[in-house]
Amino acid sequence: MTDLTALTIAEARDALAKKDFTALELTDAYLGAMEKARALNAYVLETPEKARAMAAASDARRAEGRVGPLEGIPLGVKDLYCTEGVRTTACSKILDDFVPPYESTVTSNLWADGAVMLGKLNNDEFAMGSSNETSCFGPVVNPWRRKAADGSIDPTPLVPGGSSGGSSAAVAAHIALGATGTDTGGSIRQPAAFTGTVGIKPTYGRCSRWGIVAFASSLDQAGPFARTVRDAAILLKSFASVDPKDTTSVDLPVPDYEAAVGTSIKGKVIGIPREYRVDGMPAEIETLWSQGIDWLRAAGAEIREISLPHTKYALPAYYIVAPAEASSNLARYDGIRYGLRVTGDDITDTYELTRAAGFGSEVRRRIMIGTYVLSAGYYDAYYVRAQKVRTLIKRDFDLAFQAGVDAVLTPATPSSAFGIGEKSGGDPVEMYLNDIFTVTVNMAGLPGMVVPGGLDAKGLPLGLQLIGRPFEEETLFQVGEVIEQAAGRFTPAKWW
């Protein structure tokens, strides 16, 4: 039998339907691959018993003719999603060995559609980071390695991007057929770009946030990682739902995203924003972007240069809004109701000691920035101003869409994957700059997808980002498929 982990979701779905193999055999193939790939540190908790039980139940359902859209498909779950009876930590010491007594809405949807859980995936602590280096379980290693000038493989471990670094690495390394992620400033799209995988952050409100550990509630959105555009479309259909438990979940029917994959983009207007040409951007990224433009033009799209004048202000505004919301959301970790407790002399002492011991340095930094910008006397100067800037950023996109633009094409990241430890030193702002192309999308609440576009001279994947109109994810799948067909798919050479 061929390696079952080589199949895409669409291929596995069809092969399972033809009874070429069982869900249990597919899950076992993944559990075996996971065991051999522990050097990647992608999983923080493997759940083989649960996976095998879920796979056996899936086979039983299929025997009775009950087949869900994800029947028997083994997935990894970012450790930010609460999973009933399965430890959930957000990769923070402060949650200790928290075992949720409930299941997040998104994962509930996946299991209801027949999917199988392989385990919980590593991420930056509370999703705060762009390299997966802030996790209390240690960094994830990117399955991709650099090529040296002489063509030999450089064994320096590289980051898989962040915050959903376990998800991106697991999908790229074929130790999950797909994975869940969350994206607050680029946490799905930047790791997808760094690992040659497909990642989509849907429109704010498309997927329920209920049961997902909150970082910045007005920016957080759940979305899938997959190896192909079609697979991402299949997954998003199950992710998305209207949920009365999330007041920001939008009452719109969920379309059949897969039906959009492979349809013509003739006449679609693709906007190319001039503000995304930034100083110091490697020539290879510029070249890839031009290549992407040529591919879409060749497929019949109309290419139009556009201006999004407030782009450069998105990242600074984000570093006010996101920490402000985080400082409020993370106030709940007080050592009283769940998680870690360090007992002090009195209640305040207990709070302060618990939070000092439980939060890592990046999380502590962001809580303090958030506390400062919301404090008396600074609220208007920082927070209100940042929210006004957010209006301007959203207006830039609104104007482009009103003028007829269907989707915007940009580079996904300002560089390919970097080495572990290379950017985590001195200045925190250096790491923040990773999200320069992705963060505008969260600030405006728009859908954004990253599709692999090619490899750089070091042999590392680079991604292209597509930004769409609110709730028009179908356009992204349509255009993304054209890029995938032209660029091909990228798989890392196995060294683990």
């Binding site: 600074p316 303090m368 200045d427």
Partner: protein, 95 residues
């Protein structure tokens, strides 16, 4: 704007995070680096711009005011570091 040492200590207390004396300088540098970075927002004229409160034009959904959950104290306290008879046990708050 930049923060001085005493502001770092005050903010840490507001955030209920204990900061050791020897960590204050490093934190001050990091916070000032971030505040320096966000300073560029001051270049923009935001007069007459409304702050964004919701990215999608929807009104807040309200659920019916009925009991739809509850009666699960064991589940609620299951993850508590310290609990007794379905209550959270905390350090003494009132003298």
């Amino acid at each position: 704007m930049s923060v001085d040492r005493s502001t770092v200590v005050r903010v840490a207390h507001l955030a209920r995070i204990r900061v050791a004396e020897e960590e204050v300088d490093k934190l001050q540098g990091e916070l000032n680096s971030i505040l320096g970075f966000v300073e560029q927002l001051a270049e923009l004229d935001v007069t007459d711009v409304e702050p964004l409160t919701s990215v999608v034009p929807i009104s807040m959904k309200k659920r019916a005011d009925v009991v739809n959950d509850g009666g699960i104290p064991k589940k609620v306290t299951a993850n508590a570091p310290l609990s007794e008879d379905d209550f959270f046990v905390v350090p003494k708050v009132v003298e």
